[in-house]
């Protein structure tokens, strides 16, 4: 347990723990940021800003229990800020455009998510992630790239687990339709070629 370490170790650990967290999570955070903003430089800056924000938080006397979720939370907020700057379309507008209402019962089951995911090619889905609106890209990245559980994602995004599950479900459906669209296009293209 951390508390039983000698005092000198503990005194150093604030800085050490912070740098250790950096070493441990920089790639994952970068990956997440890059998928979300689709800009390498911007992603690096976001990672940097996340860490400086966390450091400021520590300096103000706060204690961080879990760096992983805290870093994701900070990064996520920064990405949302970034989107706000870009003035992307609102979530409601998105939902309306999709012609779906959130919280449909059939979307809530983890089984249905799994069943749906099983029908999708992950490699193709990854390539098409940037076609998804960010709220879907966000949950898909958190769930499948970063490997967070529904509970963690729900804490991070500050939505209920149900909402998260529904969102993932929809995101997968969207992905599948995107893949299908692409497949159809490819087929047509091949047919046309013939």
């Amino acid at each position: 347990m951390a508390d039983q370490r000698p005092i000198e170790d503990m005194e150093e650990s604030q800085e050490d723990r912070f740098l250790k967290a950096f070493d441990e999570y920089n790639d994952a955070l970068f990956r997440h940021a890059f998928i979300r903003v689709s800009n390498r430089e911007k992603a690096v800056d976001l990672v940097h800003d996340s860490f400086t924000k966390v450091w400021t938080y520590i300096r103000s006397g706060h204690e961080i229990d879990s760096y992983r979720s805290f870093l994701y939370k900070v990064l996520n907020n920064l990405i949302i800020d970034e989107y706000r700057k870009r003035k992307e379309i609102s979530l409601d507008a998105l939902l309306e455009a999709d012609g779906v209402d959130e919280g449909a019962f059939s979307d809530l089951s983890e089984d249905t998510v799994e069943a749906l995911a099983a029908t999708i090619d992950g490699r193709k889905a990854f390539d098409l992630l940037n076609r998804l609106p960010d709220i879907y890209r966000e949950v898909i990245t958190l769930r499948f790239v970063d490997g967070l559980g529904p509970k963690e994602i729900s804490d991070l995004v500050e939505e209920s687990e149900n909402v998260i599950s529904v969102r993932i479900h929809r995101a997968l459906r969207l992905l599948r339709s995107e893949i299908e669209k692409q497949d159809n296009k490819a087929k047509k293209k091949r047919g046309g070629d013939k």
């Binding site: 005092i7 503990m10 150093e12 604030q14 790639d27 069943a115 995911a117 992950g122 990854f126 499948f144």
Partner: protein, 486 residues
């Protein structure tokens, strides 16, 4: 779904920071941390926070305190030493017998200063100062009614010890440097004189009951006697040394006068200034005399030194100032102008009395008196005439006419009393010296004392020019004086 997850992750794993990017990012962060370091409180607080076990937390806290102390050990010990060696002695300086810190004052502060006094002369000066301090403390306690018999005895004993220490140093000094011993002895002697005069006055003030400081006064009387007995007779310091000492002491006296400007009353300041002017004048007269009458000049200088030192004791001890007037310690010395005025005034009085006595003679007096009185009248008239003649000359011996007029003055006064000229009573033994208005209250003096003073400052009569009493202290300020008052 597992496949889906794996596929996505496999794909995404290729997304990584490049080595260069990672290094740069880390460097940026580290420098950010350096520019924004954790506050001490945060780092220690956070590092010792043990969430689950309170005991561990407490243990951590105590170790942290130790560690903190270890880091600042030297700073803390510095503060501690400063407190011991600066603050406590400083506070102790203001203590009086009975206070917790009095022992620190007497046994630590004063002993340290004793060891700092290297020469025997300095030691005498310091022991004298300690003697002053003890008496001042006793006065302070007596004023507050806190001076118990026991305390008074211990103060009296301390006074005796300090005086004895000083006498021993003087004895020691005599073997090596008799001149210096004389100067040191004057230092002690004058202090005892002034303090005795002051304590005597306290005694007089409380004549109905036993004065609280009687025991101390007794010790001082004994010590004064002892100092007198041990005095070197016919030994005087060298001319140069004496002059230097006079200069040093007068400088100090002037500096003291400056420093007590706000504390002393106008009258006191005026009186002191007048005495300092007297001292300057006497010094000049004595210096002039060195060529012809060295011995007398030396005596004059010693007298000047005594006066200066008495003034210093008077000025440095606020309690002394409250109980004694300057006049009791250092009587005023008249300027030649004042002395001439004095002579003229006496001459006029004699003339006035003689005319009254003559009237009585015409009325008729008992035969046994008549002859005597007639003789007195004739002599008085002769003297008055004589004095007038002398005064009209350019060069005259002031001492001579003073002694002439004083003798006749006394005889005429006695005669007037004898034949019942009541208006002459009470016998005028004090007179007002018409110097200027402001001095009238403070310059009353006894004729006898005045005569003594005159003797001490005998002039050869050749120089009648009045020395300027507005003496500037230009020469005095050139001496480096280490004994500045605190």
């Amino acid at each position: 779904m597992k496949r889906f997850s794996e596929q996505i992750q496999n794909k995404s794993n290729s997304l990584k920071l490049k080595v260069g990017e990672k290094r740069e990012l880390r460097e940026r962060l580290v420098s950010y941390m350096e520019y924004h370091p954790l506050p001490k409180a945060v780092s220690t607080k956070a590092s010792t926070k043990a969430k689950n076990k309170k005991e561990v937390y407490l243990a951590g806290e105590s170790v942290r305190v130790l560690n903190f102390n270890k880091l600042r050990f030297w700073q803390w010990s510095g503060v501690f030493v400063a407190a011991i060696f600066l603050v406590i002695p400083y506070v102790a300086e203001k203590s009086v017998p009975g206070d917790a810190l009095y022992a620190v004052k007497v046994n630590f502060n004063e002993e340290i200063r004793s060891t700092l006094a290297r020469s025997s002369y300095e030691k005498v000066v310091w022991e004298t100062e300690r003697l002053n301090r003890r008496i001042a403390e006793a006065r302070l306690l007596a004023d507050e009614g806190k001076l118990t018999d026991e305390m008074e005895e211990s103060v009296a004993e301390a006074v005796r010890v300090h005086s004895e220490n000083a006498r021993n140093e003087i004895k020691h000094l005599k073997e090596t440097d008799e001149g210096e011993a004389v100067l040191a002895s004057i230092q002690l002697d004058t202090t005892i004189d002034v303090q005795s005069a002051s304590l005597r006055n306290i005694g007089k003030a409380s004549s109905t009951e036993k004065s609280a400081t009687d025991k101390i006064a007794d010790v001082l009387a004994l010590e004064s006697k002892a100092v007198d007995e041990e005095k070197s007779i016919n030994v005087t310091p060298s001319k140069e040394r004496l002059i230097a000492q006079v200069e040093r002491e007068t400088t100090r006296a002037y500096e003291l006068l400056n420093s007590i400007k706000t504390l002393a009353t106008e009258e006191e300041k005026h009186d002191i200034k007048r005495r300092l002017e007297d001292i300057d004048r006497k010094t000049k007269t004595a210096l002039d005399k060195y060529d012809n009458e060295e011995e007398s000049a030396q005596d004059d200088m010693l007298e000047v030194l005594r006066s200066a030192q008495k003034l210093i004791v008077f000025m440095t001890n606020i309690d002394v100032r409250e109980t004694v007037t300057v006049d009791e310690i250092v009587p005023v010395t008249l300027t030649e102008e004042e002395r001439v005025l004095n002579v003229k005034e006496k001459r006029d009085k004699i003339a006035n009395l003689v005319s009254q006595i003559e009237l009585k003679l015409e009325e008729g007096l008992p035969s046994e008196l008549e002859g005597k009185i007639e003789g007195v009248v004739i002599e008085a008239e002769l003297v008055v005439e004589d004095v007038n003649t002398i005064l009209s000359e350019n060069n005259f011996d002031l001492n001579e006419i003073e002694s002439k007029i004083n003798t006749v003055y006394d005889v005429v006064l006695d005669s007037a009393e004898l034949i019942g000229l009541n208006e002459t009573k009470p016998k005028i033994d004090k007179e007002v010296i018409p110097v200027d208005k402001s001095t009238t209250t403070s310059t009353t003096t006894d004729i006898n004392t005045e005569n003594e003073e005159n003797k001490a400052s005998t002039t050869d009569g050749s120089d009648k020019k009045i020395e300027s009493t507005d003496s500037t202290n230009s020469n005095a300020s050139s001496t480096g004086d280490n004994d500045l008052v605190e």
